[in-house]
């Protein structure tokens, strides 16, 4: 039997029904759905049906009209890894044409950005890449007007894929292994019973199922809503045109002869294919639509995701392309043959939406994924479904991350629109959103505003990053506060952060920590749940606070957080705001099915004020009759105390390395707490301090690790230098792997480094911001035995030390105190030295302050 006949046999044709029951139903047969189905089969899951309401091989979604080019270099490690995995799969299938790609710069600022791209390429191991002079760009792309450009960033490995072909190959291979395919089958409903997905209702019958994967691109929100879940993306329009035939391309030997050009400063791209030139743009006004506004297959003049072209929106882009490539675009004989407003999916934070939805167990999202991430994302989802963890740690893409306020249509549209024109933008690592701010306000907010706080957003919360009212501290600390000369590093930063830090170290600081996510695990089985998820022993006395990693099954980091034991059957989990909802999802997934333990999300019920510094005890004791002495209230304890007229849950821990407490009160009493602390602290010289201190300077001086920076699933506890104490007897997620990690030689060790000399060739002091590659002193990449490159996981000032501190995982041969290495930043190398290679802090290594 021919393969074709085989696959057609597997296809449920017109009139035929769908299987009555399947383990998994994948909805959507674009590159993502096909890839999910294929990888499920590869992992032995063949009890799978792939549905699409459209015909095959092009069901009419965004895969069908995608521009299909891939530039691998991205500042985001996660996106890069998904892209590299996808490229590998495309190449394996022979559908990748390595055309090379050039990002061109029209400004000096962009050329500087390209040095950052060079650094990211090095950090993530993408080679070769190079910076080009305009003449070199012209040699590769002779039809470009080189007078308009300053230079280029060249990625020879960039290329163009045939995503529809790849999708088809995946489907056909999976069909041979047992995948059922049903095209022209529309989903009418997704039934949820007993809190889980149970059934998919289609135009060809119902399918009883345990898992449903929504891989429906721009339609995904509509499908998720059928099950009462949300997939927070918005369809947006991306305009593109095809012009041709260009005389220069008439003799092109292959389909693609010239590198893809990304005209970064105009948010456009141009690429040759055959005799045509495709011109696309992200520069036009953001055009968002509802998933319900996408036409049906029958109604659409082309496909549903190729909407009518709106010429007026594209006129300025035509002018730009004409100016850049006059020979091709200006040729009167070259016609505009195809022009669409293509629909693509955009999220509120620019990241994909992968994983099990927060609302409905068994309902999975594989959405907001573009061609360059498709196969990698498919593999990741399949692994998450089968193994509960994935080779690529796609935590930034975890759909569970979104808070309720981030799921609203207005928020998604505002952020997607704002992000749209930044598609090729020069985005600062600390860059803040402008739209739809102020949606979550701590009870301290009005006080903070009065103190001229500069607010950054965290998980929707407005959090002071520093206080302009603290500017007088700059005078107080004078030379001890280093100023930054380069504009880039001064952006989204203030020397006031360092001054606040010093005031905290000298006196005391109060810090708004309301963005914490707080969960109570309660019930008879609460201990079992906490014990099962936490690496450290949590069967501790009531009133103990345990700082613990949560591990993945493979022993990587899922999170690090603190757990307070408030009662025998009551554990309070406090975790960072950024991934709070992902953590909640993780915890919920480990609850016993019998209901003997529950989790209550207390995030919006409690606010938190941090009080730290040598005067913290003086301040707190002036407000309470409770014993807050070191003996009466030791480190790592929590207890209810009365502060003025407030009942406060005080937890004596610190993320900044000073004596003090996290003070928790019900959110409606927060303002009062602020006032009493501020008033009692005034005689002691208390200052309000921002997250610049809490998250960066205070933390880095103490070499405290942060999830999402140092701590990722790709690294283990031993490598992170956190394998202190013995492994608890009780079972916990990742235990077996963790025990193994303790026995083996770590491939890398997390080290703290300081910069020996900040001075650039231009004589300006430069300060790294994180993500930069660590090189040997000779300038070679540092790679561990698992192939991981060393890069700066976090960077920031250590004002007490007068040093700039970098954290990085280094292979053991380099993880030696005193070892000299270098770091690549903005096209230059700076000498750095290893200060510590374990968890010993660079400031107050004895931890005397915390335990004073």
């Amino acid at each position: 039997m021919t393969p074709r006949a085989e696959s057609s046999k597997e296809t449920a044709p017109s009139g035929r029904g769908v299987p009555p029951s399947q383990r998994v139903v994948v909805i959507g047969a674009g590159i993502v759905g096909n890839s999910v189905a294929y990888h499920l089969c590869r992992l032995g899951q063949t009890d799978v049906t792939l549905l699409d309401k459209g015909p095959l091989p092009n069901p009419g979604g965004s895969t069908g009209h995608a521009s299909n080019f891939i530039f691998p270099v991205d500042h985001s490690k996660e996106m890069t890894l998904l892209t590299l995995e996808s490229m590998r799969q495309y190449k394996d299938r022979g559908v990748f044409i390595e055309s090379g790609g050039i990002e061109i710069a029209r400004t000096e600022e962009r050329m500087q950005e390209f040095t950052r791209r060079m650094a990211s390429a090095c950090s993530w191991g993408i080679e070769p890449v190079s910076l080009l002079h305009p003449e070199q760009v012209s040699e590769l792309v002779p039809f470009i007007d080189q007078r308009l450009i300053r230079g280029g960033f060249y990625t020879p490995g960039a290329g163009v894929v045939d995503s529809l072909r790849a999708a088809t190959m995946m489907r056909e291979e999976a069909a041979n292994d047992g995948l059922t395919v049903a095209a022209n089958t529309e989903v009418l409903g997704i039934d949820v019973e007993g809190g889980r997905v149970r059934r998919v209702r289609t135009t060809r019958g119902d399918i009883e199922t345990e898992h449903v994967v929504i891989a429906c691109g721009a339609w995904s929100p509509r499908l998720a809503a059928m099950a009462g879940a949300s997939i927070p993306l918005t369809p947006m329009v991306h305009q593109m045109i095809d012009i041709g035939p260009a005389p220069r391309f008439a003799n092109a030997k292959g389909m693609i002869e010239y590198p893809i050009v990304r005209d970064m400063d105009t948010n456009m791209y141009e690429r040759q294919e055959g005799t045509n030139l495709e011109i696309g743009s992200y520069a036009h006004r953001p055009i968002a639509l509802d998933a319900d506004e996408i036409p049906s297959i029958e109604e659409a003049a082309l496909t549903p995701t190729e909407l009518p072209f709106t010429q007026a929106d594209f006129d300025p882009q035509m002018e730009i392309a004409l100016e850049l490539m006059p020979e091709i675009v200006g040729d009167e004989t070259v016609g505009v043959k195809y022009a669409i407003n293509g629909v693509l999916s955009v999220t509120y934070d620019g990241m994909p939406l992968l994983g099990e939805t927060a609302e409905v167990p068994g309902l999975w999202s594989a959405a907001a994924i573009w061609i360059k991430e498709g196969p990698g994302a498919g593999k990741t989802i399949a692994e998450l479904m089968v193994h509960h963890e994935s080779e690529i740690d796609a935590y930034e893409s975890n759909i569970a991350r979104a808070y309720a306020c981030q799921r609203t249509k207005a928020h998604i549209r505002a952020r997607a629109s704002e992000g749209f024109n930044k598609m090729y933008g020069i985005v600062h690592p600390s860059e803040q959103w402008e739209s739809d701010r102020g949606v979550r306000l701590a009870p301290f907010f009005e006080r903070e505003r009065a103190l001229e706080a500069v607010f950054f957003e965290a998980a929707g919360w407005e959090r002071p990053h520093w206080y302009a009212s603290n500017a007088p501290l700059l005078e107080e600390y004078g030379e001890r506060v280093a100023r930054r000369e380069a504009e880039w590093e001064s952006r989204w930063w203030s020397p006031i952060i360092n001054a606040e830090h010093l005031a905290m170290r000298d006196r005391a600081a109060m810090i708004d920590l309301t963005a914490f996510a707080i969960f109570d695990i309660v019930g008879p089985a609460a201990l079992d749940v906490a014990q099962h998820v936490a690496m450290r022993q949590v069967n501790v006395a009531i009133g103990r606070v345990v700082y613990t990693p949560l591990l993945t099954p493979s022993g990587g980091f899922k999170q690090d957080l603190t757990i307070m034991r408030l009662a025998d059957d009551h554990f309070r989990v406090v975790t960072g705001g950024a991934y709070g909802m992902s953590d909640l999802k993780w915890l919920q997934a480990h609850l016993p099915p019998d209901g003997s333990a529950q989790i209550h999300d207390q995030t919006n019920a409690w606010c938190t004020l941090g009080l730290w510094g040598p005067r913290a005890r003086d301040i707190l004791s002036s407000l309470t009759d409770d014993d807050v002495s070191h003996e009466g209230f030791p480190f790592a304890r929590c207890r209810w105390i009365e502060v003025d007229s407030l009942q406060v849950l005080a937890s004596r821990i610190s993320y900044v390395g000073d004596l003090g407490w996290e003070l928790y009160v019900p959110i409606e009493q927060g303002a009062r707490l602020w006032d009493v602390i501020a008033e009692a602290g005034a005689p002691h010289g208390i200052v309000p301090a921002g997250i610049g201190v809490y998250g960066t300077t205070g933390r880095l001086e103490k070499c405290y690790r942060a999830y999402g920076f140092e701590l990722e699933a790709d690294y283990n506890v031993v490598e992170a230098g956190m394998a202190w104490g013995k492994v608890k007897d009780e079972d916990f997620v990742g235990k077996e792997a963790h025990v193994r990690h303790r026995e083996e030689e770590p491939a890398a060790l997390l080290c703290a480094l300081t910069v020996d000399d900040h001075t650039s060739s231009a004589g300006i002091k430069r300060y790294m911001l994180g993500g930069e590659p660590i090189l040997t002193s000779d300038g070679d990449p540092v790679v561990d035995r698992r192939g991981r490159r060393s890069y700066v996981t976090s960077a920031g000032a250590g004002p007490s030390l007068g040093k700039h501190i970098l954290m990085a995982y280094l292979p053991p041969q380099y993880a030696v105190v005193g070892e000299q290495l270098s770091v690549q930043y903005m096209g230059e190398r700076y000498q750095v030295s290893v200060q510590t290679n374990d968890s010993t802090p660079v400031f107050d290594p004895e931890n005397a302050r915390v335990r004073s």
Partner: protein, 286 residues
């Protein structure tokens, strides 16, 4: 009485127009042009007949010439004209149903004016025997501005005319290239039929416009229309809905053309069409 402009009394479309006319009034008169076609001249001549007979309605078949001559009459009388009607109910105003978009859509409309001027959409009604009271001839008078056909150039192609063919094998975007039409031509030849194509194909330059079937191309009425790799846009279906049977060969099991098809084969036309040709040869060889 009603007056009908006919090609001839035997002409199928003219007979359809007569049939509809007979439903309006028992007295049906007919007129027919003679001599070289002269649209405005025939119109003027028809106007004279109208003035003489005062019909309540003047009908013509919805052909190029029928529509054209009646439009001249309408322009001269400054009366409305409803083209390509499928149903009429007389009155003041008269109510008609007429086709739009080449038949993809119907319009109910009222026509204000007398006599009622309308043309009858081809194949909207089945022709029935109609007793014609009188058949008159129209002749164009000469004069300034009267255009007429000065020359007729016979078609040079020896093949079967697309509009007349009993079999049309038609290819769409799915054929993929001009060369791809080889298999289509082969099958058409075997069946002594004509090759057709969709607008996408002529736009791509794979076939001449004379092969185009559709609203703005040729309208065909074969015994069977074999649509290969044609998705079935309304504009295309408008040209082939006169076919008695429609066979769609398409990789997509639910392409919109299947909704209009009698038969379908699902799969790649480049494999299926040669297989059909081979099967025909086998059948003939046997």
């Amino acid at each position: 009485m009603v007056l009908v402009l006919v090609e001839s009394l035997d002409d199928e479309l003219s007979r359809q127009a007569l049939t509809l006319a007979a439903s309006l009034d028992d007295a049906v008169h007919a007129v027919s042009g003679v001599g070289e076609y002269a649209p405005a001249g025939w119109g003027r001549s028809l106007l004279e007949v109208i003035e003489e007979l005062s019909p309540s309605a003047v009908l013509a078949p919805g052909t190029d010439r029928g529509n054209e001559v009646l439009a001249h009459v309408a322009a001269m009388l400054d009366l409305p004209m409803a083209a390509n009607c499928v149903a009429i109910s007389p009155g003041d105003p008269a109510a008609v149903t007429r086709i739009r978009w080449g038949g993809s859509l119907f319009e109910d409309a009222t026509v204000h004016g007398s006599p009622l001027l309308l043309t009858v959409a081809p194949h909207a009604v089945a022709a029935e025997p109609v007793e014609v009271a009188q058949l008159r001839e129209l002749e164009a008078a000469g004069g300034d501005g009267m255009v007429r056909v000065i020359e007729h150039v016979p078609a040079s192609t020896a093949g079967v005319s697309l509009a007349e063919a009993d079999v049309v094998v038609s290819g769409g975007r799915g054929v993929g290239s001009a060369e791809g039409f080889g298999v289509i031509e082969e099958l058409a030849d075997l069946l002594r039929g004509a090759v057709g194509c969709s607008r996408a194909v002529t736009s791509a330059g794979w076939r001449p416009h004379t092969d185009q079937v559709g609203q703005t191309g040729t309208k065909v009425a074969p015994e069977i229309y074999i649509a290969c790799g044609i998705s079935g846009a309304t504009q295309h279906l408008a040209g082939c809905k006169g076919a008695k049977k429609l066979l769609a060969i398409n990789p997509d099991g639910e392409a919109s053309i299947l909704a209009s098809a009698d038969y379908a084969v699902i799969g790649d036309l480049h494999e299926i069409v040669p297989a059909i040709s081979a099967e025909i040869r086998k059948a003939r060889g046997a």
